[in-house]
Symmetry: D3
Subunit: 315 residues, 6 copies
């Protein structure tokens, strides 16, 4: 992100247009094609055909955009107005096939890679968690293995499921195998729930991930651990089910006993640290058909704004 003189196009002022009116780009930001260049790009990854239980995440980007109408422009906790210091755009949705997963992944990777080549940092909006793999591939091309801060109820380090090695439950194993992620610089936070076996957690730890469980979570200690483990170019992946279902953690596989939004916001604010350079991230698993009060979409929109703010803060 260079510092040359240029005009930044932000959302229309609330005074000009009621918040409920207008096209549903994320936060009413300009589309990618409406501006010459961009620093940060929101990219929809409407793909849910690698989910093992409830589908519907394909409508996550639309729901998050709708909920983003409620967002304002200033992040008080982080002290930044991201749209004022960076050109943020909505790059639309990757045209991901729902029927042929490999085509779906390729479309997401291509869309993210193009934005990355243009100099943008991509904040992906899923879609089920499998979309993180193509997003990581795109983010990673020029940066070497990335650190990861992975908020989730699940480790997502299974080897395969239902005949496929590419599902929403295998992405963080594949990411290590493909050397997209440096697991020594990676933390998984919010883990909980029933497990497929007594070694499920260990398998992830053996890959190298540091683990922080939801039960007994101490926010300050967790931030300290993150800052200790994670450094350098980093990817932040937020599975909405890191949140308790009460707070909108209504993913394809929700788990009780999760985090509150206050805890998650505090953890994210803790990522504003000198050694951590967020190069991309995502908010995934918002699953609108199972979210009657729109809590997941509302949380998702706010969490995307936090990621954008963290990236903008680095400028």
């Amino acid at each position: 992100m260079s510092g040359e003189e240029r005009t930044i196009v932000g959302p229309p002022a609330g005074r000009d247009q009621p918040r409920f009116a207008g096209f549903r780009t994320f936060a009413k930001l300009p589309r990618r094609q409406d501006v010459e260049r961009c620093d940060i790009a929101v990219l929809g990854a409407p793909f849910d055909s690698a989910s093992s239980f409830r589908p519907g995440g394909r409508f996550g980007p639309a729901a998050v955009r709708e909920a983003s109408m409620l967002l304002r422009v200033h992040n008080h906790a982080l002290g930044v107005s991201p749209y004022a210091v960076a050109q943020v755009v909505d790059a639309g949705d990757a045209p991901a096939s729902p029927v042929v997963p490999e085509l779906g992944f390729a479309a997401i990777e291509a869309a993210a890679a193009e934005l990355t080549r243009e100099g943008a940092r991509v904040v992906g909006i899923g879609g089920d968690h499998s979309v993180t793999l193509p997003l990581l591939r795109a983010a990673d091309a020029a940066r070497g293995p990335l650190g990861v801060v992975h908020f989730d109820a699940h480790t997502d380090t299974d080897d395969a499921a239902y005949g496929s090695r590419y599902t929403h439950g295998t992405v963080f194993r594949r990411a290590v195998e493909e050397e997209l992620v440096d697991p020594r610089r990676a933390v998984q936070i919010g883990l909980r729930g029933t497990r497929f076996s007594d070694t499920a957690l260990e398998q992830s730890a053996q890959l190298g991930y540091r683990q922080i469980l939801a039960q007994g979570l101490d926010v300050e200690a967790a931030i300290a651990t993150i800052r200790e483990v994670v450094s350098g170019p980093t990817y932040v992946s937020i599975d909405i089910d890191v949140l308790d279902p009460a707070f909108g953690g209504l993913s394809s596989t929700p788990e009780i006993g999760g985090l509150t939004t206050r805890e998650l916001l505090a953890l994210l604010h803790g990522l504003a640290a000198p050694g951590i350079e967020i190069v991309a991230g995502d908010v995934v698993e918002v699953t609108p058909p199972y979210d009657p009060a729109g809590l997941g979409a509302l949380a998702g929109a706010n969490l995307a704004f936090e990621l954008i703010s963290l990236i903008a803060l680095q400028r």
Copy 2:
């Protein structure tokens, strides 16, 4: 609408982009600012502060756009592919104040008038039925009083309510008083429900409106009546509550005993007649918070497509 050579921009092919992906312009049509000129413009009128019962119509345009993702491009019954023969655009939402109704009406009129001046025919998406008045004013400026085909459970010819002469229940009285509508060329179809007094229907008839009740409706006879009464430049206003609540007639003031979607589609197809020139129209009162299955939004999107098709057919 002239016939000179020019390129028409339609929606992206379904092959290029899954229907659930992409920005939510109506039917994925280009925005007004994305093309040089337009023949037909969809305009959101997200205003519901003149509704007497259930609010929420301000989210009607967004819900109709979301449902329009399901629309394809060809109208079989009318034999027309409207986006191929006319430049149809989504002109976004008029920035209507929800707090100061007169400002709201002014914003809607201004947005519609600008499109009309550019040569476009406007299909408005409400919002409560009060938005028809500014839309009529804009449509009418250059055309003299218009004929009207008004689909509704209610006559909307009250004089005033709750201290205002401008509500969703007074619009067709005001339209006559302002000489926007020629009531001798106007039909109201689908009337039913309890009434405020035994003269409620008469008051509307005294203004000049021909009336067709829902109870005992005969589709063929109704089409004959419409064609007999209506002629010349005509405005078509569809209050979603002309439909039975079962079929999505979940307006701010729903009434049982309404039309089926098959009946309403047949009536609309009957408007494709030599003497009727549709210069503008609207679909109003889709009220998403009271529409858990999205039936009103789905019907609204299809009805807007029928209006667009009817206008395109005239080219």
Copy 3:
């Protein structure tokens, strides 16, 4: 209902109070205790502990009252403004025990009997269909066996279920046995759905009920049959599931293939006939927890208004 001079208290004028404001008595009518006497009384029977499948009908009266806020005062089809020609009141809810059915029935009968003794004709709002039995007992005391027009998907003439002879499926057998109903003057309309045996319909016919099936229903023919069979003092019982689930027939045991609201309204209007004296009636089985769009409550409120209108018309 005598004809002496007296003041009738109706709902407040819509001009004085928005329809969404104010206490939720039925149609904003006065409570029983607010006026000296009454001609027609709406009585809630919030009892659902004799339902064989979905409970929730205990909240039917509250939901019908809430939906009745949408009702206006004039019945156009019947040509009557009932609150102007009769003192109509909301008599509140019978305090029916949900745990001890016999106490529940007794409370309903007592409340209805008291109103009947005061000269009022009672329009009951259920509650599951078992509440019709105590309502019939109260209506019947002074009038001998009544004719019945029974709108329902089911005959409700089982002998017993789940250890009880008093359930929502046995009420029209008990009513014959208790000589509350004269089955030679009784019609059941809207019957359909799967049956417990191949003789289910016959058993009801053997009790004497004339039967009109939903499949192949002809409204005019049905009215003719009703007028042929039914005469004298008559009870009209409307199980909301006579309507198709699409139109709000979301009772404790809904059945597909039901009537439309237009058909049901037409049938009810056909009851305005010289030989039929409606002495009481009910609308039952509105089951709010299974009615996300409120269609059953809206239909229920309108149907109660039709019953009130029919009774008022007889004055």
Copy 4:
């Protein structure tokens, strides 16, 4: 289906068990493994990864089974108590991979083929409409090309979509190409809605399908056409979206202007004709997350019961 002496196991009597209690096999029928042999088998096909719009059909079988608790045992219109004349079972769900469509199809075909080999006629419960292809393959093995009665808003005869030739929109083209279906003995009923091009309907007709549109549908004429066209071993496929969304036609791609349940029931009853031998069928596209009132599931359960009844009637 042989006629030897044997005991048939039906559902428990309603007297023994309240309808809301007990395991959720279809209509509380025995599971396949609970009886020695079976004549008719309900088979869940919980697969929705070939749907082009709304997913969620994978929960269709569970929702249909839940709604089937309301079913009783006798079909009055057809005059048959199917569980008394045929051993009907619930064969559970095919373990269809949601991530690898080809594995999903194979699992469905294998499960249906095994039942067919055992002499059972299979009534499949989808799942999106793509599941009809493996069900047809299984049904067809020993019978040669089948006649088809196909109830649907769509022809489902596209060639490909989103990179795949096997989607819920291509199944009836593939079925002809694979010679599973004899299109000269095939009818499509209920077609309507916007189209991808002006030749969409023709393409299906060119494959040989006779077509009956929803708009202007005449039930008696449609039955006559079906009986004229269809004969011999026949497959009946019911896409729930042949119904209007109001009546539960809430598939992955719903269309307004559809059939009522009364119309569809009458059409199905018309299939009880000498020349038509129903060898298998399905009810597909029930999509629970988009069906807040459960109308699609309720219709689906009843429609499956009608298919079972039609097959039982042939014994």
Copy 5:
């Protein structure tokens, strides 16, 4: 509130009437017109036409009354049975025009002022937060500027929005300007969320409000602050969105990261302090159409009961 001998009319005993039965006055309390005088009055303010995002608050009073059926009569934490020590009534709804905001405000002020003149302390039920201004005007007439305890996600101290100086976002600026509130005795609690600018919080602080943010909230410290700042005649305004959306904070503009109900109850119990005299209060922004589980209404009913209890405790 005088101490003379008189009979207090409370709700009917639960033994006499099931909680789900009976008219929906708040907590089944008598209406204003049913008793001679009153000490505490619940007043509905069903007005939502000054809301900037989601409307629907006009149905807040009805939803809160419905949820209040679950309330019992004794407040254990505060040690008071308010209906036994004070005559509490439900004064119904102010007849607020939804179309002409100034008429709406006038109606609310008039209704509250009349109750205040009669000696009652008013607990208002919104409606959007703009209703607090007329409620404050009525409460303030005889008492001079009031202290304020303001629970909210937002400061509501904007100057204007959408062409109006009187919206749900400007009320606490207007209240200072009109000298209804003494900002030196005023605290705002629960502030959070994105902001329109980096000075949004400061603008409110410059008006004089003490501010307590949701993030990092310490209940004991907050109570200490309140007791330090607030004294004398005090108004307590509870915007339901002080609660996290998870706990029912589903206002017209919900914000994640909010308070739990346990925290809010503890804070309210902290208001039972010698120096704080609560003269009136409100619970606003309950927005039923966006509250599918009724959490906001349930919380609202309980919070209103807490306000009533606090006032009753002062007697």
Copy 6:
């Protein structure tokens, strides 16, 4: 539970069957009749006719089973894979009459007693809380008065309601009177909410129950208290409304200010203590019609798994 050699049948491996497929026994466990003997039995108690407010708990067992599809097999916090060390089965639903409560209770007691005689420990799934009485009777027969850990917002120690001594609010008084419970070994946890009188809590304490309020709950202290008070054969009853409504505490009588799922899980894990032998338990009051996001069912399934795990741990 003996230690002899035998094969344990667990759920099918997730690899063999997608989690959303297959019959809905609890956690896909075998039915009682599918295995020779069992150690732990899940028993549905679908009875809600003794509930004082919202009915619908009769569908609790079905909803909990549906949600249990999400459960995996290993309990990490307790370190046990219960289905591997004990034969756990789903014993189906007791056929409880909804119309005659005494028959309902008898059916539940009979079903539980038979399982107990067979050596199984029963985990009941309600149903309203009244089902705990017959479950306790069955559990108690051979063990003498039991200790109780009772998680609930309410004490459920009323004497009678609505004419009955057997309701969901009287069960823990009856249990003492019938000497099923030894109140000196009994704790009630999570108490809160409005009360019927100022002595409501005391009445329960006078029966002997130790009480822990929700307000100010300290998890560690609560566990210490439980371990101090409770010992020997113990029954664990979890009313879902011990949880805050936000977390799924959507019982027939929900109360704000409740526990989080993290707190409840920690408390349950604290029951794994040497002196406490859990002989049976239940999860009651899951009320699906009032639980639009399925939070109560999801919590209920997990809580039942915790009870099963605790019992399995004792082997």
